[in-house]
Symmetry: C2
DNA sequence: ATATGTGCAAATCTTTTGCAAATTC
DNA sequence: GAATTTGCAAAAGATTTGCACATAT
């Protein structure tokens, strides 16, 4: 197991040393948080599920099923495409990852990212395909407005925008 | 041709009568607005494209390609599935309709709706599948924030929320 | 008249499913 | 040991493409 425990900046040093000494579970690490949630809910932690979770927990960009399969096979060449899809749908059901389509700028597949605490928007340039993320509190406002005006209880909100990036704006003039 | 010209409520009666008398183009009608945009841009108005545009202009709910095909065949039984897909992608390219996936609450297909002037959010209940629309000015705020903070120029924004509707909240207690 | 669009059929791409063997708790 | 999960292979679902014929401007 090659699990790493990156340190959340907001933890005070003393608190941090205390946790280390006691060997407390570092729930701040996305991967261990994912895995412990699963096992608390009685879901079996198979080797394959760990691999998929590890990849998603540490991914810097959005992955589609095909790329995920490729990365998973670097760690276990026998892992099957169906297993990847089954793991993705499990993690999605459990609310640990989100599914995006990034407006299908290039193909009909879906993308996955671990669920993040802060609301963010995905912005895709329809000219060059570049994807940008923007954190914004407007997502929380939106959530509040949905609750207040409709009575629906939002569980997750997905915002994706089609846009022209600065570089392409220049080129397209 | 069975084109209808529904009357926008905000038009004053006099203005309306004036337009009728002069036979002015009723650009307020979603369908004629779509068709004239296409033909101004030099795009051929085939019988099939008119049918697809008519259906989308007057649709009260979100349609997927299969339902659109079915409705189109009620008007022209020879119309082909490929033609429907081709018309949809044309209308999407021209910015006259938007493509949604409604969070894939029930299957992997896409849904289409004519582009509306006001920003709105799609909210789907993950328990019963009911879809709700909510108009909100927060979309415009979001658009402004994207422009200001990233320099990207948004062309369309899609917001879809997973939620539990009031009825299901009661049932799920 | 000519460029463009359509229907048909087959192909492609993405995701799902049934089942015997392997694995987790 | 019992229940669940996996890999494999095949199926299903959604969308796209090549091409000869039809149509819009």
């Amino acid at each position: 197991l090659t699990t790493k425990f990156p340190i959340r900046q907001s933890l005070r040093e003393s608190q941090l040393r205390f946790n280390r000494k006691k060997g407390a579970k570092m729930i701040d690490d996305p991967l261990s948080s994912m895995l412990s949630t699963l096992s608390e809910r009685g879901i079996r932690l198979t080797r394959q599920r760990r691999i998929v979770a590890e990849i998603l927990a540490s991914a810097s960009s959005h992955l589609n099923a095909e790329e995920l399969l490729r990365l998973a096979r670097e760690r276990d060449s026998a892992i099957d495409r169906a297993t990847v899809y089954r793991s993705l749908s499990l993690l999605k059901e459990q609310g640990l990852i989100d599914e995006l389509d990034l407006l299908h700028l290039e193909g009909g597949e879906h993308f996955y990212e671990r669920r993040k605490p802060k609301g963010h928007v995905h912005i895709g340039c329809y000219s060059c395909g570049r994807i940008l993320e923007l954190e914004t509190s407007l997502i929380q406002s939106l959530e509040a407005e949905i609750r207040r005006k409709t009575g629906f209880l939002p569980d997750s909100i997905r915002v994706e925008a089609h846009a022209l990036c600065p570089a392409c704006q220049k080129r397209c003039e």
